[in-house]
């Protein structure tokens, strides 16, 4: 048995996260003295960090966060390993460690072969430079030599289908052209190990197929080792030979793509997951108000959800300080991140002021769910009266919708978006002449 191309042993990665301490509120107003006191404490702590040469973390309280914990696996040469898991499960951190961008806190990785990583399409593209120049720039960034790029240049341009615009600055490109060019460069890399993050989520279906074909060819024909992260389960099952499911930074399941994907989907969409814990999920950096925080989402109706049937969900939250005029939005997104349906509290006129509490909840009752049979991601967000973002989580959970008793068969078979009934009235006595149509 040859030695594995990638072997990962007990890998762990810790980040330090800063929090803002809950505001001390006296008679409803934050006291200036408190603010000064807190500022002084923060500055003092930062100064001490600087003296000791430690990392400076914004915020009043510093907390450890383990993005990866005790992860071990092996990938053999020629294997295609698919990584699945929710947002924040540690997939990207793992890829960053494997591509030597960041170093692990504990554990060890052994890589046998030249590694190239594709964590983002078009890394280092410069908008002012032309397509031709960017091919050389991007190629060099990904580790190709100039001679190598020159040799493959025509092939890259043909793959990207942008011959006409080679000398136009890429800032004038349409986003599709941009992505095609970027992927074309990356697809012509010839490393022994290729690490790819969710890069196929871009581009049209036609181009995605082309990219998949190219990746498949690379692994089958040339025996290269491939590591792929994707939220598209179809990609995982069709491209990969093995799969690994990460959850909260730990390996949850490993095996053939079919079994792992099956279990992952079952766990993240079915009855087993009636309660989604939200407290530990990462929030986008722009959102940082500790007054309000979603704690959990609970389904109060049968799962999977049914099209055309009622649905009910309960959001548990915590308020550390009073907030006024709070409004919450629950959004259903397609798996590739397009918002399909939003339930906005303002629509129902249900805004309200909240007092300090750690056991409050709000319920959303949907009379008839208009989403057709498919998988959907959930978004949550909460704002106060002045549209100040209090908390928000995108892609916090996945939910499956299946055909309901009243769903017509023609819809039930398709994976689809929103389906609404509407009123249909037939009429056989209309006069075509009125619309300027000549009757035959």
């Amino acid at each position: 048995m040859p030695e594995p191309a990638i072997s990962v042993e007990r890998l762990a990665k810790r980040y330090l996260v800063g929090h803002r301490a809950p505001r001390h509120v006296r008679q409803g107003y934050p006291a200036l003295r408190d603010a000064i006191e807190r500022q002084a404490r923060t500055v003092a702590r930062k100064a001490i960090d600087v003296m000791r040469g430690r990392q400076v973390v914004q915020g009043d309280e510093v907390e450890e966060f383990w993005a990866l914990k005790d992860v071990s696996f092996e990938v053999h040469q020629g294997d295609v390993l698919g990584l699945v898991g929710r947002n924040g499960a540690g997939k990207s951190t793992l890829l960053k460690i494997l591509s030597r961008i960041t170093e692990p806190t504990e554990g060890r990785v052994t890589l046998r072969g030249r590694v190239a990583s594709l964590l983002e399409v078009g890394t280092g593209f410069h908008p002012e430079l032309s397509g031709r120049e960017n091919v050389y720039l991007n190629g060099a960034i990904l580790g190709m030599t100039r001679a190598e790029i020159r040799r493959k240049f025509d092939e890259i341009v043909a793959f990207a289908e942008i011959e006409k615009f080679l000398d136009t600055p890429v800032k004038r490109y349409s986003s599709g052209m941009y992505v095609r060019l970027a992927f074309a460069v990356a697809a012509h890399l010839e490393p022994e190990i290729l690490v790819v993050d969710e890069v196929l989520a871009v581009g049209d279906a036609e181009f995605q197929r082309k990219c998949l074909g190219k990746m498949d060819e690379v692994s089958r024909r040339d025996g290269r080792t491939l590591l792929v992260v994707s939220h598209n389960m179809g990609v995982i099952t069709s491209l990969c030979t093995k799969a690994l499911w990460l959850d909260h930074g730990m390996v949850c399941e490993r095996g053939t793509p079919e079994t792992v994907v099956g279990q992952y989907l079952a766990q993240s969409s079915s009855g087993g997951d009636r309660v989604l814990r939200l407290d530990h999920l990462p929030r986008p950096p722009a959102i940082g108000d500790d007054r309000f925080r979603f704690e959990a989402l609970e389904w109060l109706c049968p799962l999977p959800l049914r099209h055309g049937e009622p649905a009910r969900l309960r959001l548990h939250f915590r308020t550390k300080a009073p907030v006024s005029n709070v409004s919450i939005v629950v959004g259903f997104n397609s798996v590739d991140g397009v918002r399909l349906v939003s339930y906005h509290m303002d629509h129902a006129g249900a805004r309200r002021d909240l007092t300090v509490s750690d056991r409050s909840a709000v319920e959303l009752v949907i009379d008839s769910l208009n989403l057709g049979p498919n998988l959907f991601n959930l978004d949550l967000s909460c704002r106060s009266g002045d549209f100040h973002g209090l908390d928000g989580i995108s892609g916090c959970g996945r939910v499956e919708v299946v055909a309901g008793p009243r769903t017509p068969a023609s819809i039930a078979a398709k994976n689809s978006g929103v389906h609404v009934e509407g009123q249909w009235v037939w009429d056989e006595t209309t006069e075509p002449a009125r619309l300027g149509l000549t009757s035959r």
Partner: protein, 274 residues
């Protein structure tokens, strides 16, 4: 034979310098990108590289030569002396300040692709070097204008160019590694560079510095470099003293060693800090 890479916490890359060599193409490409992009969408383009130093030279000549009536080096025209000092100073100052910002400017690269990070600040110093070459043509034009013929000393100039380059890289690397962690230095760097202009013999000759201050003065590595430039360009006239040069060389060597050491120590965590 396939490469074996082992990634562990706190482990130094054994083949760091070999990697640096392997990625040399990226080094050229990054420098080329910065040069290519520099004057895009400007009207007069690369002429800016000529206008800026020329105006500074005029101002310094009027300020120090005419108003303060400071003496030049030997018989050399004052503007020529000022320019011979400004050449290495501009290389140093723009090298340091651009390198300092290079990590933040290339944050998207650093958080997405692996390459020896040393390439980024060094490539920006190379960009400053290209500006230096452009500015050098002004010097040649001025020499023709003043009918000033340099002596054999001009042949030593490349050595001082290299010295100026090394003098810039040391502090540049140190500041870069600091700036990634503590953005405070983003504010401090322009200030230090501005201050440096007045404690370096750019607008005046080293000859006017009192004897008692000579040692402290020479601790500024640019003093040796600028005096050396003048010695080469003005044909042996000038205040280049061997002891000043020795002190400057030692300080440059120290900064180079310290800068690389600090940079290597912190570069592994750059992606997390940016």
């Amino acid at each position: 034979m396939t490469d074996v890479i082992v990634i562990e916490a706190g482990r130094h890359e054994r083949n760091y310098w070999r990697d640096l060599w392997r990625y040399r193409e990226l080094f050229y490409v990054l420098a080329w990108r910065d040069i290519a992009v520099r004057y895009k969408q400007t009207v007069i383009g690369a002429a800016w590289a000529l206008i800026r130093p020329f105006l500074t030279m005029v101002i310094f000549t009027v300020l120090f030569g005419r108003l303060a009536k400071l003496p030049s080096d030997g018989t050399a025209p004052y503007p020529l002396m000022v320019f011979a000092g400004m050449l290495p100073w501009t290389l140093f100052s723009s090298g340091v300040s651009e390198a300092a910002n290079s990590m933040i400017g290339n944050a998207n690269l650093i958080s997405k692709v692996y390459f020896p990070r040393l390439i980024v600040p060094t490539a920006t110093v190379v960009v400053a070097f290209v500006d230096f070459l452009i500015t050098f043509s002004i010097l040649l034009a001025m020499m023709v204008w003043y009918r000033f013929l340099p002596g054999w000393q001009i042949l030593v100039l490349p050595a001082f160019v290299v010295l100026a380059f090394l003098a810039a890289i040391g502090p540049a690397l140190w500041i870069t590694s600091l700036i990634v962690r503590y953005r405070d230095f983003r504010v401090i760097v322009p200030f230090i560079v501005q201050l440096g202009l007045y404690v370096s013999p750019v607008g005046f000759s080293s000859a006017i510095v009192p004897e008692t201050w000579r040692f402290a003065y020479a601790l500024n590595p640019m003093v040796g470099v600028i005096d050396g430039f003048r010695w080469c360009i003005l044909g042996g006239q000038g205040a280049l003293r061997p002891e000043t040069l020795a002190v400057s060389l030692a300080v440059t060597a120290f900064f180079l060693w310290y800068g690389i050491r600090r940079f290597r120590k912190t570069e592994r965590s750059f992606a997390d800090l940016l």
